[in-house]
Point group: D2
Chain length 347, copies 4
Amino acid sequence: MIVILSNKVTEERIAEIIQHIEKHEVTTHLSRGVDRTVIGIIGKASPMLAEHLRQLTGVEQVVKISKSYKLASRDFHPDNTVIKIGGVEIGGDQLVVMGGPCAVESPEQIDEIARLVKASGAQVLRGGAFKPRTGPYSFQGVGVEGLVMMAEAGQKHGLLTITEVMTPEYVDVCAEYADILQVGTRNMQNFDLLRKLGTIQKPVLLKRGFSSTYDEFLNAAEYILAGGNPNVMLCERGIRTFETYTRNTLDLSAIPALQTLSHLPVISDPSHGTGRRELVEPMSKASVAAGANGLIVEMHTDPDNSMTGDGVQSLFPEQFAQLMLDLEKLAPICGKRFDSKKELVCS
Amino acid sequence: MIVILSNKVTEERIAEIIQHIEKHEVTTHLSRGVDRTVIGIIGKASPMLAEHLRQLTGVEQVVKISKSYKLASRDFHPDNTVIKIGGVEIGGDQLVVMGGPCAVESPEQIDEIARLVKASGAQVLRGGAFKPRTGPYSFQGVGVEGLVMMAEAGQKHGLLTITEVMTPEYVDVCAEYADILQVGTRNMQNFDLLRKLGTIQKPVLLKRGFSSTYDEFLNAAEYILAGGNPNVMLCERGIRTFETYTRNTLDLSAIPALQTLSHLPVISDPSHGTGRRELVEPMSKASVAAGANGLIVEMHTDPDNSMTGDGVQSLFPEQFAQLMLDLEKLAPICGKRFDSKKELVCS
Amino acid sequence: MIVILSNKVTEERIAEIIQHIEKHEVTTHLSRGVDRTVIGIIGKASPMLAEHLRQLTGVEQVVKISKSYKLASRDFHPDNTVIKIGGVEIGGDQLVVMGGPCAVESPEQIDEIARLVKASGAQVLRGGAFKPRTGPYSFQGVGVEGLVMMAEAGQKHGLLTITEVMTPEYVDVCAEYADILQVGTRNMQNFDLLRKLGTIQKPVLLKRGFSSTYDEFLNAAEYILAGGNPNVMLCERGIRTFETYTRNTLDLSAIPALQTLSHLPVISDPSHGTGRRELVEPMSKASVAAGANGLIVEMHTDPDNSMTGDGVQSLFPEQFAQLMLDLEKLAPICGKRFDSKKELVCS
Amino acid sequence: MIVILSNKVTEERIAEIIQHIEKHEVTTHLSRGVDRTVIGIIGKASPMLAEHLRQLTGVEQVVKISKSYKLASRDFHPDNTVIKIGGVEIGGDQLVVMGGPCAVESPEQIDEIARLVKASGAQVLRGGAFKPRTGPYSFQGVGVEGLVMMAEAGQKHGLLTITEVMTPEYVDVCAEYADILQVGTRNMQNFDLLRKLGTIQKPVLLKRGFSSTYDEFLNAAEYILAGGNPNVMLCERGIRTFETYTRNTLDLSAIPALQTLSHLPVISDPSHGTGRRELVEPMSKASVAAGANGLIVEMHTDPDNSMTGDGVQSLFPEQFAQLMLDLEKLAPICGKRFDSKKELVCS
C-alpha cells in the first residue's frame, strides 16, 4: 500500500501518520519527491487499512497494491475453478448453455420449454419463481410452486435447473429445488443474502450489479467464498450507460478481464445485456468468441404473452435451436466443446 | 399510452395487435403517419400493460403518457407531504438537519456526538448500527446494541434518531429504537425490504440507488406507499459517473425535479454524495439553495479513527457547528426556517 | 411525431399549440386520454420541428416517430453500402483488417511494420501523423512528413493506408496521401470537419464519440453523407463508463445494432476500446462474431518504446500474426471471408 | 511517480525497467512488498513519462503523484486568477451573470434582449452566431453578421459580450467583435482550437466536455494557458449520465473541486446543465451557494419561437429579472457581491 501525502503536510503530522500506520503491524518507508512525500507500507496489511488511512488529515491518496479480495483472485488460486454438477462441468472446456423463460408461468409452459431446451442441446433450464420488479404493481412471480414445477420439468427432461433467489429466507427452499441459485443484478450487494449463500454448497451464479466495477463484483463474490462456498460463477449481464437503444450495455471485455483477475467461471447473459431479441444471437456468439464459459439465454414459446414483459428479449424456440447449431460450430474454434444433444445429465 | 409500430408490420398484424390491446379494457385509436403507424390507447391502462405491449412482434416502441407510479406522484397528490415527528416537520418550511457519525462505535462516542449535534442546532442524530460493506472483511457495525446506544443518546439530548435498516428481519427492531429508518443506496431496489417497510408507519428515508433514474427512485418509493406507509422521504446521495475525484456525483437537480414530480420531502446527503470533507460545506449550502427539505451530514469527533473509514467525509464538530450558523442565514433566503438551538424536540 | 401536453394545459393553449404546429405544413390529430392530451402530427415534418415544439409552453414531451437522420438510415437505403478501394471491399462479405502503430515515428519503423502487417494478411496500414493529445506537453505526431512515410510504406508493401485527420485545413493533404481518412472520437461532433469531409470522395472512417449514443453517431455520419460523400464507415471504439480497469468499454452490441439502423459498414477498434494488450485478441474475435465488417488493431515492433504511450495496447508482431491466423478460421463461421496472404491490393 | 510491477516480473526485467526509467534523468527507489514490487521515481519527470512507462511489459500500474497540468494548477499559482474586462472582475468577489439567447436571430431580437439583460443587473450579453448542431439539417446560426449585431447591442446597452467560437479560422473574427470567447462542450478537446486560443489574449470561457473528468478539463485549459493566454475561465455545464429527465446532470461539486485544484474562475451554466426552464432558477441559486464565480443563463423574449429549439431551457425576461433580484440577496451570504443595476461597464 502506498500513502501519498498532501503537499501542505507538516513534518510533525508526517511523524504522526507514520506512528498511526505502524500500529497496524506493518513497516513503513518514507520517500520524499519534488512535489509530494509518499509513505510505502510493507507487510501484511488488513484489507481495512486503506479505508482507514484514507481518512487521516494530511493524506491525499491511498493506492492499494494488493487486491481487497483474496479467495476470488487468481493470484492465490492460479487454476480455473471447475464446478461439476451432474455430468456438466462449468469453468472447464465445456460450453454450458442455460435456456428458458424469464418466469415460470404454469406446469405446461415450463414442461414444453424444457423439452425444447433439451432438444436443442442446452444443459440447464432457467426460470424465475420469484421476480424482482421495479414497480409494486407488476407480476411478482408464482412463488414456491414455480420451484416445484421447474424441478419436475428439469428432472423429466434431464436438465439441470437455475433459479433466482432474492432474500436470505428463501435460500434454503430454492436450494432444495434448484441445482444452481442465481443472484440478480439488484442484489449483487445484498450482503445478507451473499453471506447466507456462503453457508451452503449449492453453486451460485452471481450477476454483476448494473453499475458495478470488476473490483466490486469480485468483492461480492468474495463474500460467498469467504463464507465457505467455493462454487461461484460470475455473470456479465450488461451495465448501465447513456445508450438507451439497448436496455443495458453488455460489457464483453469483462469476460477475459474477469478470467484474468479471477479463477471463477464467467457466464454471459445476452438477453438482459441487450434487452432486444435480434441482438441475442450475435451477442451470444461474441460472448463465446470472447471466451465465456457459458451463456444464459431467455427463450419462450409465446413471447407475445410472457407474463413479465420480458418477451421482447426472449428468443423463439426455432431461433434458440438455430443458435445452438451455430454454437456447435463456433465452440471448437474458441477452445470449447459443445456436444449438442449428446450430453447425459443426471442431477 | 402510445404504441409505435415497426415500419414493416402487415395489416393483419396491426389488427392482431389492436385485438391484443383491447383485451385490457381500453379503447384504441389508429393513426397512420408517413413512415410509421401508431396506436393510441385511451382509458385506465394497468401499469403492466406497457411492459406487455413492448414485447409484441411488430411493436417498435411504447411511450407511456401516464407515470408508472401513482401514490408517489404529485399529479395525484398536489400538496406537499409533511412528516411530523415530535416537534419536527419534514417537508414543510422547516429545514431539517440530521448529523452524526457513519457508525455508532461506543456509548461514549455517540453520547458526545449527540451533545455536539444538539448544541449546533440540528434536530436529528444519525448513526449506523449495521453497516453495508463492499468487502466481507470490513467492520460490519456493532448491531442491536448500537441501536440502544443511539436511542439513549437521542433521548438524553432531545434529538430524533435515524438509522439504516438493511434486511426485512431487522425492520421491527430498528423501528423500536429509531425515529426514522433509512434504506441505503444498495437496497433501493431490495423489494422485500421495501414491502416490509410499507407495513409499518415509522418514517422512512429512502436513498436513491447510485445508478438509478428519478423514475426508478419514485417507483421504489411507490412500493412503500402502496404497502400503506405514507411517511416516505427521498434522499439524493450522489450517482455514479466517470468522475473519480468525487466518490459520487451529487445530482442537485434531483431536488427540484423530484419535488416537481412528487409531493414527498427531499433530503440531500452531501457527505456520501461527494466523499470529501472539504466539499461538504459548499454542497450543503447548494442543496439548501436548490430547495432541499433537509440535509444528512456526517460528523465525527475523531475522524482519523472512525471505524468505517468514512472519516474522510466527516466534518469535525467545529466545522459542523459553523455550517449550522451559515445555514441559519441561508435558510430564510431560500424560503425555509432553521431556528438553530431553539427547537424543542420530544420524540 | 407525437406531442404530449402537460396535464395543466388550458383549452386555449391547446388551440394555440395546434395552430403553431399547422404552420409547418403538417396535419394534426388531437387525442384526449385519462391523464394527458396528445397531439399526433401527420405529414413530412422537418427534422427541426421536434426541437422546436419541445420548447412550447404546455408541451411536456415530444416523441419522434421518424429518425432525424435519413441518408444514414437503412429505412431509406435497404442494401449494405460496400466501399471498394483497390481490390478491397469494406461492407460486404470480406473481413477487412487495418493494422499498424498508433503513430508513424520514422520511415524505418513504418516500413518494417508495413511489411509485417502485409505478411500477416491484413489489407490496410494504419498510423497517425497528427496525434490528438489530452495534454499540451505530449508528443503531437510528426506531421505531414509522416503522411509521406506511410504512403511510401503502403505502396511498397501493397497495403491501403488509413490516417487520422483532425482539422478541416488538413483534409486535402491527408486525402492526397492516404486511402482512408479517420475521424477520431473527440472529433465526432466537430461539425466543420464533418462538413469538409462531405465535400470529398475519399472513404471516411468515423469513430464513435466516447460518450455518444447510436443516434448521435448516425447524425454525425449524416453530416458527411449530406455533404455528398457516400463512403462512410462507422467505428465502435469503446465508450466511457465507470469501469476503470479497461480504458473504455467496447460496446459490441453497437455492431449489430448499427447494422440494423444503418447500411454503413461497421468496424471495431479493440485496441482503443480496451486499452489493454491482453484483451485485444479476445475482443477482436468477439467483434467478428458479433458481425463486424472489419477491425482496426494497433501493432508495434517495439511497444516498450512507442512514442505515444499507446504501446500498452499494441500487439507484438507475432501476436498480430497469430490473430490473423485465428481470424482466418473464425471468419467463415461468421459469414465472412478473410483470405489471409492472398489479397492483391492496388490502391 | 510510482511504478507498480506485475507479480510475475523477473529480476532481470526489473533491472531493465529501472534502466529504462533512469534514462529520463530521474532517480529510482526500489521497494519490495509482500505481493508486489514497486519503483518510486524521484525528480522532475516529464508529463509524458507516465504514459511511456505504463506500456512497458511487466508494469502493472503507474500512479502519478504530481498532476499532468501545471499552469492550471493551484499548486503552482496559489492566488485566484481574476480576469478584468471593462469594470467587471471575474474570479474575485464579484458575481458575474451572463444572460441572453441561445442564438442571435436578428438585430431587433438581440437589442431587445440586451436591454432586458442590462435592466436586470447582469453584466454580460451571451448569444451564438455560429451554432454547433448535432444534425446537419438544423439551424446553424446567422454567422459573422450575428457577431456584428451582438457587438452593437452590447455597446448600446453597456454590456460585455460572449460568443462561441467553433473553429480556429474564426478565432480572429470572434475576438474582434466579442469580449469573451466561449469554447463549447463538444470542442473541449479540439486541440487545434485550444492552441489557437492560446495565441490571443481575449478571455476564454472553456466549457467542460460532457463526459470529461476534472483532470481532462484542466488539461484542456492547460493547452490555452501553455500557449500564452492566462485569461481562462472554466464552465461547468452538465455531464452525461443515465438520467434522461434532465438533458445533462449539472455537477455542482465541480465548482468547489475545480476551485481547489485550480486558480481559474468557475462559471456555472444551469440552462444547458439541466435543459429545463423550471430547474434554471433553483440550480442558479445552488451554483452561487456552491461558490460559483458567475452564471451563464439563457433568456429569450419569445422562447416559443426560438430558432434553435433551446427555448425549452430559456427563462422568460420576467423570470430572469426575478432571479437577479434573488441573487442580489443570496450573493452576500455566499461571500460575493452582486450590485444589480449599479455596475458601470465600459468594454
